[in-house]
Protein backbone atom coordinates (compact mmCIF):
# COMPACT_ATOMS: atom_id res chain seq x y z
CA UNK A 1 0.00 0.00 0.00
CA UNK A 2 1.29 3.48 -0.83
CA UNK A 3 2.35 5.66 2.06
CA UNK A 4 4.40 8.75 2.86
CA UNK A 5 7.41 6.50 3.47
CA UNK A 6 8.22 6.26 -0.27
CA UNK A 7 8.19 10.02 -0.72
CA UNK A 8 10.09 10.54 2.52
CA UNK A 9 12.83 8.13 1.53
CA UNK A 10 13.32 9.91 -1.79
CA UNK A 11 14.58 12.97 0.15
CA UNK A 12 17.94 13.09 1.88
CA UNK A 13 18.12 15.05 5.14
CA UNK A 14 21.50 16.53 4.28
CA UNK A 15 20.48 17.64 0.78
CA UNK A 16 17.32 19.29 2.08
CA UNK A 17 19.26 21.05 4.80
CA UNK A 18 21.85 22.33 2.37
CA UNK A 19 19.16 23.49 -0.03
CA UNK A 20 17.40 25.49 2.72
CA UNK A 21 20.59 27.13 3.95
CA UNK A 22 21.64 28.12 0.45
CA UNK A 23 18.43 30.09 -0.27
CA UNK A 24 19.09 33.73 -1.14
CA UNK A 25 17.27 37.03 -0.65
CA UNK A 26 16.18 36.71 -4.26
CA UNK A 27 14.51 33.36 -3.48
CA UNK A 28 12.76 34.92 -0.48
CA UNK A 29 11.48 37.85 -2.52
CA UNK A 30 10.18 35.51 -5.21
CA UNK A 31 8.41 33.50 -2.52
CA UNK A 32 6.82 36.63 -1.09
CA UNK A 33 5.61 37.84 -4.46
CA UNK A 34 3.65 34.83 -5.56
CA UNK A 35 0.22 33.64 -4.56
CA UNK A 36 0.59 29.87 -4.98
CA UNK A 37 3.71 28.88 -3.09
CA UNK A 38 5.69 25.69 -3.66
CA UNK A 39 7.85 23.64 -1.31
CA UNK A 40 10.86 25.50 -2.73
CA UNK A 41 9.21 28.79 -1.73
CA UNK A 42 8.62 27.33 1.74
CA UNK A 43 12.32 26.46 2.01
CA UNK A 44 13.17 30.06 1.17
CA UNK A 45 10.73 31.39 3.78
CA UNK A 46 12.20 29.29 6.59
CA UNK A 47 15.80 29.96 5.51
CA UNK A 48 18.16 32.28 7.38
CA UNK A 49 17.85 34.63 4.38
CA UNK A 50 14.18 35.27 5.25
CA UNK A 51 14.84 36.56 8.76
CA UNK A 52 15.27 40.05 7.29
CA UNK A 53 11.75 39.81 5.80
CA UNK A 54 9.87 39.03 8.98
CA UNK A 55 7.56 42.03 8.96
CA UNK A 56 6.31 41.57 5.36
CA UNK A 57 5.89 37.86 6.07
CA UNK A 58 3.84 38.70 9.17
CA UNK A 59 1.70 41.15 7.22
CA UNK A 60 0.87 38.59 4.54
CA UNK A 61 0.37 35.86 7.13
CA UNK A 62 -2.13 37.99 9.04
CA UNK A 63 -4.12 38.81 5.89
CA UNK A 64 -4.22 35.21 4.68
CA UNK A 65 -5.25 33.91 8.10
CA UNK A 66 -8.05 36.44 8.45
CA UNK A 67 -9.22 35.74 4.90
CA UNK A 68 -9.60 32.04 5.66
CA UNK A 69 -10.46 31.90 9.36
CA UNK A 70 -11.88 35.34 10.07
CA UNK A 71 -11.03 37.19 13.24
CA UNK A 72 -11.44 34.19 15.49
CA UNK A 73 -9.12 32.20 17.73
CA UNK A 74 -10.12 28.78 18.96
CA UNK A 75 -9.35 27.80 22.55
CA UNK A 76 -8.43 24.23 23.42
CA UNK A 77 -7.46 22.30 26.52
CA UNK A 78 -5.81 18.91 27.14
CA UNK A 79 -7.23 16.28 29.47
CA UNK A 80 -4.41 13.98 30.58
CA UNK A 81 -5.91 10.55 31.20
CA UNK A 82 -2.76 8.62 32.02
CA UNK A 83 0.98 9.00 32.49
CA UNK A 84 1.70 5.27 32.27
CA UNK A 85 4.27 4.71 29.55
CA UNK A 86 6.43 1.88 28.26
CA UNK A 87 8.56 4.13 26.05
CA UNK A 88 11.83 5.80 26.87
CA UNK A 89 11.89 9.27 25.33
CA UNK A 90 14.81 11.46 26.31
CA UNK A 91 12.78 14.69 26.40
CA UNK A 92 9.57 13.59 28.15
CA UNK A 93 8.54 13.73 31.80
CA UNK A 94 6.51 10.53 31.42
CA UNK A 95 9.45 8.48 30.08
CA UNK A 96 9.59 4.92 31.47
CA UNK A 97 12.91 5.59 33.20
CA UNK A 98 11.60 8.71 34.92
CA UNK A 99 10.64 7.95 38.50
CA UNK A 100 7.17 9.40 38.82
CA UNK A 101 4.08 7.84 40.33
CA UNK A 102 2.03 6.37 37.50
CA UNK A 103 -1.67 6.94 37.24
CA UNK A 104 -4.52 6.21 34.87
CA UNK A 105 -7.78 7.97 35.66
CA UNK A 106 -10.84 5.94 36.57
CA UNK A 107 -14.25 6.75 35.09
CA UNK A 108 -15.26 8.62 38.21
CA UNK A 109 -12.03 10.66 38.17
CA UNK A 110 -12.45 11.48 34.48
CA UNK A 111 -15.91 12.87 35.14
CA UNK A 112 -14.53 15.09 37.92
CA UNK A 113 -11.91 16.47 35.51
CA UNK A 114 -14.55 16.92 32.80
CA UNK A 115 -16.70 18.95 35.17
CA UNK A 116 -13.87 21.43 35.75
CA UNK A 117 -13.10 21.70 32.02
CA UNK A 118 -16.77 22.28 31.16
CA UNK A 119 -16.93 24.90 33.86
CA UNK A 120 -14.02 26.76 32.25
CA UNK A 121 -16.21 27.15 29.14
CA UNK A 122 -14.80 24.48 26.83
CA UNK A 123 -17.05 22.50 24.49
CA UNK A 124 -14.26 20.33 23.07
CA UNK A 125 -11.34 18.52 24.64
CA UNK A 126 -8.01 16.90 23.75
CA UNK A 127 -7.40 13.53 25.45
CA UNK A 128 -3.72 12.81 26.18
CA UNK A 129 -1.97 9.64 27.37
CA UNK A 130 1.44 8.01 27.28
CA UNK A 131 1.80 4.64 25.61
CA UNK A 132 0.84 1.70 27.81
CA UNK A 133 -0.86 -0.84 25.58
CA UNK A 134 -1.62 -3.28 28.43
CA UNK A 135 -3.84 -0.83 30.31
CA UNK A 136 -4.48 2.18 28.06
CA UNK A 137 -5.63 0.37 24.94
CA UNK A 138 -8.36 0.71 22.36
CA UNK A 139 -10.97 -0.77 24.69
CA UNK A 140 -10.02 1.89 27.26
CA UNK A 141 -10.38 4.64 24.65
CA UNK A 142 -13.73 3.25 23.54
CA UNK A 143 -14.93 3.33 27.12
CA UNK A 144 -13.66 6.89 27.69
CA UNK A 145 -15.19 8.20 24.44
CA UNK A 146 -18.58 6.76 25.39
CA UNK A 147 -18.22 8.25 28.86
CA UNK A 148 -17.34 11.82 27.87
CA UNK A 149 -18.97 12.18 24.46
CA UNK A 150 -22.23 13.54 25.94
CA UNK A 151 -20.33 16.49 27.43
CA UNK A 152 -18.47 17.75 24.36
CA UNK A 153 -19.10 18.71 20.73
CA UNK A 154 -15.71 17.30 19.72
CA UNK A 155 -13.16 14.98 21.20
CA UNK A 156 -9.56 14.91 19.96
CA UNK A 157 -6.82 12.49 20.97
CA UNK A 158 -3.06 12.68 21.39
CA UNK A 159 -2.19 9.11 22.33
CA UNK A 160 0.00 6.29 21.02
CA UNK A 161 -0.25 5.52 17.28
CA UNK A 162 -2.92 2.94 16.49
CA UNK A 163 -3.76 0.62 13.61
CA UNK A 164 -6.24 1.63 10.91
CA UNK A 165 -8.91 -0.74 12.25
CA UNK A 166 -8.53 0.72 15.73
CA UNK A 167 -9.05 4.25 14.44
CA UNK A 168 -12.00 3.01 12.40
CA UNK A 169 -13.53 1.67 15.61
CA UNK A 170 -13.05 4.93 17.53
CA UNK A 171 -14.34 7.40 14.93
CA UNK A 172 -18.04 6.41 15.19
CA UNK A 173 -17.80 6.94 18.96
CA UNK A 174 -17.11 10.64 18.42
CA UNK A 175 -13.38 10.84 17.79
CA UNK A 176 -13.02 13.74 15.35
CA UNK A 177 -9.35 14.61 15.48
CA UNK A 178 -6.03 12.92 16.21
CA UNK A 179 -2.68 14.59 16.87
CA UNK A 180 0.40 12.58 16.03
CA UNK A 181 3.78 14.29 16.14
CA UNK A 182 6.77 12.74 14.44
CA UNK A 183 9.05 14.51 17.00
CA UNK A 184 11.85 14.54 14.38
CA UNK A 185 12.17 13.35 10.78
CA UNK A 186 15.88 12.74 11.33
CA UNK A 187 15.82 8.95 11.41
CA UNK A 188 19.09 8.37 13.25
CA UNK A 189 18.42 11.09 15.78
CA UNK A 190 14.92 9.72 16.30
CA UNK A 191 16.48 6.40 17.33
CA UNK A 192 18.71 8.17 19.86
CA UNK A 193 15.76 9.91 21.48
CA UNK A 194 13.52 6.82 21.47
CA UNK A 195 15.78 3.95 22.52
CA UNK A 196 13.09 1.69 23.96
CA UNK A 197 9.41 0.90 23.57
CA UNK A 198 7.05 0.70 20.63
CA UNK A 199 7.75 4.34 19.83
CA UNK A 200 11.30 3.40 18.77
CA UNK A 201 9.77 2.14 15.49
CA UNK A 202 10.29 5.22 13.29
CA UNK A 203 8.38 3.92 10.28
CA UNK A 204 5.29 2.88 12.23
CA UNK A 205 5.04 6.42 13.55
CA UNK A 206 5.80 7.94 10.15
CA UNK A 207 2.93 6.02 8.56
CA UNK A 208 0.38 6.82 11.27
CA UNK A 209 -1.14 9.75 9.34
CA UNK A 210 -1.67 7.39 6.39
CA UNK A 211 -3.53 4.97 8.67
CA UNK A 212 -5.62 7.86 10.01
CA UNK A 213 -6.34 9.01 6.49
CA UNK A 214 -7.46 5.55 5.43
CA UNK A 215 -9.71 5.39 8.48
CA UNK A 216 -11.33 8.64 7.30
CA UNK A 217 -10.51 10.85 10.28
CA UNK A 218 -12.08 14.32 10.16
CA UNK A 219 -8.92 16.17 11.17
CA UNK A 220 -5.32 15.33 12.04
CA UNK A 221 -2.52 17.29 13.57
CA UNK A 222 1.18 17.01 12.71
CA UNK A 223 4.35 18.54 14.03
CA UNK A 224 7.85 18.07 15.35
CA UNK A 225 9.38 18.77 18.72
CA UNK A 226 11.57 21.81 18.19
CA UNK A 227 14.97 21.38 19.81
CA UNK A 228 15.83 17.82 18.87
CA UNK A 229 17.29 18.54 15.45
CA UNK A 230 17.69 21.38 12.95
CA UNK A 231 14.23 22.95 13.06
CA UNK A 232 14.35 24.22 9.52
CA UNK A 233 14.95 20.80 8.01
CA UNK A 234 12.41 19.17 10.31
CA UNK A 235 9.85 21.82 9.32
CA UNK A 236 10.44 21.16 5.65
CA UNK A 237 9.66 17.48 6.17
CA UNK A 238 6.52 18.41 8.10
CA UNK A 239 5.42 20.60 5.18
CA UNK A 240 6.23 17.79 2.74
CA UNK A 241 4.16 15.41 4.87
CA UNK A 242 1.12 17.71 5.05
CA UNK A 243 1.38 18.39 1.34
CA UNK A 244 1.35 14.66 0.60
CA UNK A 245 -1.54 14.03 3.00
CA UNK A 246 -3.67 16.83 1.55
CA UNK A 247 -3.30 15.33 -1.90
CA UNK A 248 -3.97 11.79 -0.77
CA UNK A 249 -6.59 12.11 2.00
CA UNK A 250 -8.24 15.17 0.54
CA UNK A 251 -11.36 15.05 2.70
CA UNK A 252 -9.38 15.49 5.92
CA UNK A 253 -8.44 18.80 7.59
CA UNK A 254 -4.93 19.34 8.92
CA UNK A 255 -3.43 21.24 11.81
CA UNK A 256 0.13 21.98 12.82
CA UNK A 257 1.90 22.57 16.07
CA UNK A 258 5.56 23.26 16.83
CA UNK A 259 6.21 22.74 20.50
CA UNK A 260 9.57 23.99 21.68
CA UNK A 261 11.30 21.68 24.13
CA UNK A 262 10.40 22.73 27.69
CA UNK A 263 12.21 21.84 30.89
CA UNK A 264 10.94 19.08 33.17
CA UNK A 265 12.56 17.45 36.18
CA UNK A 266 15.70 15.64 35.02
CA UNK A 267 15.07 16.58 31.40
CA UNK A 268 17.03 17.04 28.20
CA UNK A 269 18.73 20.27 27.17
CA UNK A 270 17.72 21.27 23.63
CA UNK A 271 20.35 20.39 21.03
CA UNK A 272 19.14 23.21 18.84
CA UNK A 273 17.74 26.47 20.21
CA UNK A 274 15.00 28.31 18.39
CA UNK A 275 14.45 31.91 19.43
CA UNK A 276 11.16 33.83 19.37
CA UNK A 277 12.02 35.55 16.11
CA UNK A 278 12.54 32.20 14.43
CA UNK A 279 9.29 30.79 15.78
CA UNK A 280 7.42 33.78 14.32
CA UNK A 281 9.24 33.15 11.05
CA UNK A 282 8.11 29.53 11.08
CA UNK A 283 4.47 30.35 11.86
CA UNK A 284 4.36 32.91 9.04
CA UNK A 285 6.19 30.62 6.61
CA UNK A 286 3.64 27.84 7.16
CA UNK A 287 0.77 30.26 6.66
CA UNK A 288 2.25 31.65 3.46
CA UNK A 289 2.77 28.11 2.21
CA UNK A 290 -0.62 26.77 3.24
CA UNK A 291 -3.60 29.07 3.66
CA UNK A 292 -5.91 26.35 4.95
CA UNK A 293 -3.85 24.61 7.62
CA UNK A 294 -4.74 25.27 11.26
CA UNK A 295 -1.88 26.34 13.50
CA UNK A 296 -1.94 26.04 17.26
CA UNK A 297 0.20 27.45 20.04
CA UNK A 298 0.34 25.87 23.49
CA UNK A 299 0.89 27.14 27.01
CA UNK A 300 4.54 26.17 26.64
CA UNK A 301 5.06 29.66 25.24
CA UNK A 302 5.27 32.85 27.28
CA UNK A 303 2.40 35.28 27.87
CA UNK A 304 3.93 38.09 25.86
CA UNK A 305 4.80 35.87 22.93
CA UNK A 306 1.32 34.31 22.80
CA UNK A 307 -0.41 37.66 23.03
CA UNK A 308 1.42 38.86 19.93
CA UNK A 309 1.06 35.61 18.01
CA UNK A 310 -2.74 35.82 18.11
CA UNK A 311 -2.51 38.24 15.18
CA UNK A 312 0.29 36.57 13.28
CA UNK A 313 -1.18 33.42 11.73
CA UNK A 314 -2.15 31.00 14.46
CA UNK A 315 -5.74 29.74 14.69
CA UNK A 316 -5.92 28.06 18.08
CA UNK A 317 -4.40 28.50 21.49
CA UNK A 318 -4.60 26.45 24.69
CA UNK A 319 -5.44 28.01 28.01
CA UNK A 320 -5.58 26.81 31.58
CA UNK A 321 -3.81 23.57 30.65
CA UNK A 322 -2.65 20.99 33.18
CA UNK A 323 -0.23 18.37 31.91
CA UNK A 324 -0.63 15.82 34.70
CA UNK A 325 -3.42 13.21 34.96
CA UNK A 326 -5.88 14.52 37.52
CA UNK A 327 -4.39 18.00 37.28
CA UNK A 328 -7.71 19.86 37.22
CA UNK A 329 -9.46 18.29 40.22
CA UNK A 330 -8.25 14.86 41.29
CA UNK A 331 -4.54 15.36 42.05
CA UNK A 332 -3.55 18.93 41.23
CA UNK A 333 -0.10 18.50 42.80
CA UNK A 334 1.14 15.44 40.82
CA UNK A 335 4.15 15.69 38.47
CA UNK A 336 3.59 17.33 35.08
CA UNK A 337 4.72 16.15 31.65
CA UNK A 338 6.33 19.54 31.09
CA UNK A 339 6.25 22.94 32.74
CA UNK A 340 3.61 25.39 31.64
CA UNK A 341 4.84 28.90 30.85
CA UNK A 342 1.58 30.80 30.41
CA UNK A 343 -0.54 30.02 33.47
CA UNK A 344 -3.40 32.45 32.85
CA UNK A 345 -6.94 31.14 33.07
CA UNK A 346 -9.06 30.53 29.95
CA UNK A 347 -11.25 33.53 30.84
CA UNK A 348 -8.21 35.83 31.00
CA UNK A 349 -6.92 34.46 27.70
CA UNK A 350 -10.37 34.91 26.14
CA UNK A 351 -10.37 38.52 27.30
CA UNK A 352 -6.90 39.04 25.82
CA UNK A 353 -8.17 37.62 22.50
CA UNK A 354 -11.15 39.99 22.55
CA UNK A 355 -8.89 42.95 23.32
CA UNK A 356 -7.00 42.18 20.09
CA UNK A 357 -10.24 42.41 18.12
CA UNK A 358 -10.73 38.65 17.77
CA UNK A 359 -13.53 36.40 18.95
CA UNK A 360 -12.67 33.40 21.18
CA UNK A 361 -14.27 30.14 20.01
CA UNK A 362 -14.81 27.23 22.39
CA UNK A 363 -15.52 24.37 20.00
CA UNK A 364 -14.62 23.19 16.51
CA UNK A 365 -17.91 22.22 14.90
CA UNK A 366 -21.34 21.85 16.31
CA UNK A 367 -22.22 18.44 17.67
CA UNK A 368 -25.00 17.82 15.15
CA UNK A 369 -22.56 17.52 12.22
CA UNK A 370 -19.89 15.42 13.84
Amino acid sequence: MNSFKDLFESHSWDDVKESIYSKTKNDVENALHTSRRTLEDFKALISPAAVAYLEPMAQISQKLTQKRFGKTIQLYIPLYLSNECTNICTYCGFSLDNKVRRKTLSDEEILREVAVIKNLGYDHVLLVTGEANQTVHVEYFQRVLKLIRPFFSQVSMEVQPLDTEEYTALIPLGLTSVLIYQETYHKEDYKKHHPKGKKSNFNYRLETPDRLGRAGIHKMGLGVLIGLEDWRTDSFFTALHVNYLEKTYWQTRYSLSFPRLRPFSGGLEPKVEMNDRELVQLICAYRLFNEEVEISLSTRESEKFRDHCVQLGITSISAGSKTNPGGYAVEPESLEQFEISDERSPEVIAEMIRSKGYEPVWKDWDKVIC
Binding site: N30, E55, A58, Q59, K247, D276, V280
Partner: protein, 254 residues
Protein backbone atom coordinates in the same frame (compact mmCIF):
# COMPACT_ATOMS: atom_id res chain seq x y z
CA UNK B 1 9.39 12.53 -18.98
CA UNK B 2 5.62 12.36 -18.75
CA UNK B 3 4.34 8.97 -17.72
CA UNK B 4 0.71 7.90 -17.91
CA UNK B 5 -0.10 4.40 -16.72
CA UNK B 6 2.87 2.38 -18.10
CA UNK B 7 3.65 4.59 -21.09
CA UNK B 8 6.21 7.38 -21.34
CA UNK B 9 5.83 10.41 -23.59
CA UNK B 10 8.54 12.80 -24.70
CA UNK B 11 5.95 15.18 -26.18
CA UNK B 12 3.42 16.88 -23.90
CA UNK B 13 1.24 17.96 -26.80
CA UNK B 14 -1.65 15.60 -27.41
CA UNK B 15 -3.77 16.13 -30.49
CA UNK B 16 -7.10 15.33 -32.03
CA UNK B 17 -7.99 14.15 -35.50
CA UNK B 18 -11.24 15.93 -36.24
CA UNK B 19 -12.04 18.98 -38.36
CA UNK B 20 -9.08 18.76 -40.80
CA UNK B 21 -10.08 19.27 -44.41
CA UNK B 22 -8.26 16.12 -45.52
CA UNK B 23 -6.70 13.07 -43.93
CA UNK B 24 -3.46 13.85 -45.69
CA UNK B 25 -3.27 17.33 -44.17
CA UNK B 26 -4.14 15.85 -40.79
CA UNK B 27 -1.25 13.42 -41.10
CA UNK B 28 1.23 16.16 -42.02
CA UNK B 29 0.11 18.40 -39.17
CA UNK B 30 0.19 15.63 -36.56
CA UNK B 31 3.64 14.47 -37.62
CA UNK B 32 4.88 18.07 -37.52
CA UNK B 33 3.41 18.53 -34.03
CA UNK B 34 5.55 15.69 -32.64
CA UNK B 35 2.48 14.45 -30.80
CA UNK B 36 2.68 10.89 -29.50
CA UNK B 37 -0.92 10.52 -28.39
CA UNK B 38 -3.69 11.19 -30.84
CA UNK B 39 -7.35 10.86 -30.02
CA UNK B 40 -9.74 9.33 -32.54
CA UNK B 41 -13.50 9.39 -32.37
CA UNK B 42 -14.79 5.88 -32.51
CA UNK B 43 -17.59 6.99 -34.82
CA UNK B 44 -15.03 8.07 -37.40
CA UNK B 45 -13.41 4.67 -37.62
CA UNK B 46 -14.87 2.07 -39.95
CA UNK B 47 -14.94 -1.10 -37.91
CA UNK B 48 -13.57 -4.18 -39.57
CA UNK B 49 -12.15 -2.30 -42.57
CA UNK B 50 -8.39 -2.95 -42.74
CA UNK B 51 -7.96 -0.08 -45.19
CA UNK B 52 -9.82 2.43 -43.09
CA UNK B 53 -8.69 5.79 -44.32
CA UNK B 54 -8.07 7.69 -41.11
CA UNK B 55 -6.14 4.86 -39.44
CA UNK B 56 -3.85 4.50 -42.45
CA UNK B 57 -2.85 8.11 -42.04
CA UNK B 58 -2.10 7.60 -38.35
CA UNK B 59 0.15 4.62 -38.87
CA UNK B 60 3.40 6.10 -37.57
CA UNK B 61 5.73 4.44 -35.08
CA UNK B 62 5.60 7.35 -32.61
CA UNK B 63 1.84 7.90 -32.71
CA UNK B 64 -0.26 6.08 -30.14
CA UNK B 65 -4.00 6.02 -30.64
CA UNK B 66 -6.37 7.21 -27.95
CA UNK B 67 -9.90 6.19 -28.92
CA UNK B 68 -12.58 8.45 -27.50
CA UNK B 69 -16.21 7.82 -26.77
CA UNK B 70 -17.47 11.02 -28.31
CA UNK B 71 -21.15 10.65 -29.14
CA UNK B 72 -22.21 8.57 -26.14
CA UNK B 73 -24.64 10.05 -23.65
CA UNK B 74 -24.56 7.66 -20.70
CA UNK B 75 -22.12 5.53 -18.71
CA UNK B 76 -23.73 2.42 -20.13
CA UNK B 77 -23.18 3.54 -23.72
CA UNK B 78 -19.62 4.58 -22.85
CA UNK B 79 -18.74 1.14 -21.48
CA UNK B 80 -20.12 -0.47 -24.61
CA UNK B 81 -18.24 1.93 -26.88
CA UNK B 82 -15.03 1.38 -24.91
CA UNK B 83 -15.21 -2.36 -25.47
CA UNK B 84 -15.79 -1.85 -29.19
CA UNK B 85 -12.83 0.53 -29.35
CA UNK B 86 -10.56 -1.88 -27.53
CA UNK B 87 -11.37 -4.54 -30.06
CA UNK B 88 -11.18 -2.34 -33.14
CA UNK B 89 -8.05 -0.37 -32.31
CA UNK B 90 -6.30 -2.96 -30.16
CA UNK B 91 -5.63 -0.62 -27.27
CA UNK B 92 -7.04 -0.47 -23.75
CA UNK B 93 -6.44 3.29 -23.61
CA UNK B 94 -9.54 5.40 -23.64
CA UNK B 95 -10.48 9.04 -23.59
CA UNK B 96 -13.76 8.89 -21.79
CA UNK B 97 -16.12 11.62 -22.86
CA UNK B 98 -19.81 11.62 -22.16
CA UNK B 99 -21.83 14.62 -23.20
CA UNK B 100 -25.60 14.31 -23.22
CA UNK B 101 -25.80 17.98 -24.16
CA UNK B 102 -25.46 18.20 -27.98
CA UNK B 103 -25.19 21.99 -28.05
CA UNK B 104 -22.17 22.84 -25.88
CA UNK B 105 -20.92 19.27 -25.43
CA UNK B 106 -20.43 19.83 -21.70
CA UNK B 107 -19.31 16.56 -20.07
CA UNK B 108 -21.65 14.81 -17.64
CA UNK B 109 -19.80 14.42 -14.30
CA UNK B 110 -22.09 11.77 -12.81
CA UNK B 111 -22.11 9.44 -15.82
CA UNK B 112 -18.34 9.93 -16.24
CA UNK B 113 -17.66 8.85 -12.67
CA UNK B 114 -19.93 5.81 -13.01
CA UNK B 115 -18.28 4.81 -16.28
CA UNK B 116 -14.78 5.25 -14.82
CA UNK B 117 -15.61 2.93 -11.93
CA UNK B 118 -16.93 0.33 -14.36
CA UNK B 119 -14.11 0.63 -16.93
CA UNK B 120 -11.41 0.47 -14.24
CA UNK B 121 -12.74 -2.97 -13.31
CA UNK B 122 -12.44 -3.98 -16.96
CA UNK B 123 -8.76 -2.99 -17.09
CA UNK B 124 -8.94 0.17 -19.20
CA UNK B 125 -6.44 3.02 -18.99
CA UNK B 126 -8.97 5.80 -18.58
CA UNK B 127 -8.45 9.48 -19.32
CA UNK B 128 -11.75 11.18 -18.52
CA UNK B 129 -12.67 14.50 -20.12
CA UNK B 130 -14.47 16.61 -17.55
CA UNK B 131 -15.31 20.05 -16.30
CA UNK B 132 -12.54 21.73 -14.29
CA UNK B 133 -14.01 20.46 -11.03
CA UNK B 134 -11.36 19.71 -8.37
CA UNK B 135 -13.54 17.38 -6.29
CA UNK B 136 -14.62 15.41 -9.34
CA UNK B 137 -10.94 15.03 -10.27
CA UNK B 138 -10.16 13.51 -6.86
CA UNK B 139 -13.18 11.22 -7.11
CA UNK B 140 -12.04 10.05 -10.57
CA UNK B 141 -8.50 9.52 -9.31
CA UNK B 142 -9.84 7.35 -6.48
CA UNK B 143 -12.03 5.47 -8.98
CA UNK B 144 -9.00 4.49 -11.05
CA UNK B 145 -8.51 7.14 -13.73
CA UNK B 146 -4.91 7.22 -15.05
CA UNK B 147 -5.06 10.95 -15.75
CA UNK B 148 -7.68 13.68 -15.69
CA UNK B 149 -8.58 15.98 -18.59
CA UNK B 150 -10.28 19.11 -17.29
CA UNK B 151 -11.47 21.65 -19.84
CA UNK B 152 -10.07 25.16 -20.24
CA UNK B 153 -13.29 26.45 -21.79
CA UNK B 154 -16.14 24.89 -23.80
CA UNK B 155 -14.88 22.44 -26.40
CA UNK B 156 -14.20 23.96 -29.81
CA UNK B 157 -14.66 27.48 -28.47
CA UNK B 158 -10.99 28.57 -28.70
CA UNK B 159 -11.64 30.79 -25.67
CA UNK B 160 -8.52 29.75 -23.75
CA UNK B 161 -8.14 29.04 -20.04
CA UNK B 162 -11.38 30.42 -18.63
CA UNK B 163 -11.18 27.89 -15.79
CA UNK B 164 -7.63 28.75 -14.77
CA UNK B 165 -8.33 29.20 -11.03
CA UNK B 166 -9.84 25.72 -10.88
CA UNK B 167 -7.13 24.22 -13.07
CA UNK B 168 -4.54 25.51 -10.59
CA UNK B 169 -6.33 23.78 -7.71
CA UNK B 170 -6.62 20.55 -9.71
CA UNK B 171 -2.91 20.64 -10.60
CA UNK B 172 -1.97 21.30 -6.99
CA UNK B 173 -4.05 18.42 -5.65
CA UNK B 174 -3.75 15.72 -8.27
CA UNK B 175 -1.75 12.52 -7.92
CA UNK B 176 -2.32 11.62 -11.58
CA UNK B 177 -1.26 13.66 -14.64
CA UNK B 178 -3.48 16.64 -15.49
CA UNK B 179 -4.07 17.22 -19.20
CA UNK B 180 -5.83 20.46 -20.06
CA UNK B 181 -8.28 19.62 -22.78
CA UNK B 182 -10.70 21.77 -24.75
CA UNK B 183 -10.77 25.47 -25.33
CA UNK B 184 -7.07 25.99 -26.00
CA UNK B 185 -7.29 28.42 -28.90
CA UNK B 186 -3.72 29.56 -29.43
CA UNK B 187 -0.14 28.56 -28.65
CA UNK B 188 -0.04 31.20 -25.90
CA UNK B 189 -2.98 29.43 -24.18
CA UNK B 190 -1.06 26.17 -24.36
CA UNK B 191 2.08 27.82 -22.99
CA UNK B 192 0.07 29.30 -20.14
CA UNK B 193 -1.39 25.90 -19.24
CA UNK B 194 2.10 24.43 -19.16
CA UNK B 195 3.46 27.35 -17.11
CA UNK B 196 0.92 26.72 -14.34
CA UNK B 197 2.05 23.11 -14.20
CA UNK B 198 -0.26 21.10 -16.44
CA UNK B 199 1.37 17.80 -17.43
CA UNK B 200 0.14 18.04 -21.02
CA UNK B 201 -2.44 19.74 -23.23
CA UNK B 202 -4.75 18.34 -25.86
CA UNK B 203 -5.31 20.54 -28.89
CA UNK B 204 -7.49 19.84 -31.89
CA UNK B 205 -9.61 22.64 -33.33
CA UNK B 206 -6.95 25.34 -33.08
CA UNK B 207 -4.62 23.30 -35.25
CA UNK B 208 -7.16 21.71 -37.59
CA UNK B 209 -8.92 24.91 -38.66
CA UNK B 210 -5.87 27.22 -38.70
CA UNK B 211 -4.96 28.93 -41.97
CA UNK B 212 -1.91 26.70 -42.12
CA UNK B 213 -2.41 23.66 -39.88
CA UNK B 214 1.14 22.36 -40.31
CA UNK B 215 2.73 25.63 -39.21
CA UNK B 216 0.24 25.96 -36.39
CA UNK B 217 1.09 22.42 -35.23
CA UNK B 218 4.75 23.40 -35.03
CA UNK B 219 3.86 26.62 -33.17
CA UNK B 220 1.93 24.57 -30.58
CA UNK B 221 4.83 22.14 -30.26
CA UNK B 222 7.19 25.02 -29.46
CA UNK B 223 4.71 26.71 -27.11
CA UNK B 224 4.22 23.53 -25.09
CA UNK B 225 7.97 23.04 -24.79
CA UNK B 226 8.51 26.68 -23.82
CA UNK B 227 5.74 26.58 -21.23
CA UNK B 228 7.09 23.41 -19.67
CA UNK B 229 10.59 24.84 -19.56
CA UNK B 230 9.28 28.01 -17.91
CA UNK B 231 7.45 25.91 -15.32
CA UNK B 232 10.68 24.12 -14.44
CA UNK B 233 12.76 27.28 -14.48
CA UNK B 234 10.27 28.85 -12.02
CA UNK B 235 8.91 32.16 -13.17
CA UNK B 236 10.05 35.35 -11.52
CA UNK B 237 7.20 36.74 -9.47
CA UNK B 238 5.29 39.93 -10.09
CA UNK B 239 4.44 42.52 -7.52
CA UNK B 240 6.00 44.79 -5.02
CA UNK B 241 5.80 45.50 -1.36
CA UNK B 242 7.05 48.33 0.78
CA UNK B 243 6.47 48.35 4.50
CA UNK B 244 8.08 51.13 6.47
CA UNK B 245 7.24 50.24 10.05
CA UNK B 246 7.07 46.88 11.80
CA UNK B 247 3.80 46.91 13.72
CA UNK B 248 3.45 43.12 13.95
CA UNK B 249 6.99 42.06 14.79
CA UNK B 250 8.40 45.04 16.70
CA UNK B 251 7.75 43.19 19.99
CA UNK B 252 10.63 40.84 19.16
CA UNK B 253 13.06 43.74 19.55
CA UNK B 254 11.70 44.86 22.91
Amino acid sequence: MLKIADKEFSSRLFTGTGKFNSSKLMEEALVASGSELVTVALRRVNMGDQDDNILLHLNHPKINLLPNTSGVRTAKEAVFAAQLAREALETNWLKLEIHPDPKYLIPDPIETLLATEELAKLGFVILPYIHADPVLCKRLENAGASAVMPLGSPIGSNKGLKTIDFLEIIIEQSNVPVIVDAGIGSPSDAAKAMEIGADAVLVNTAIAVAGNPVQMAIAFKMAVEAGRMAYHARLAKQGNYAIASSPLTAFLDE
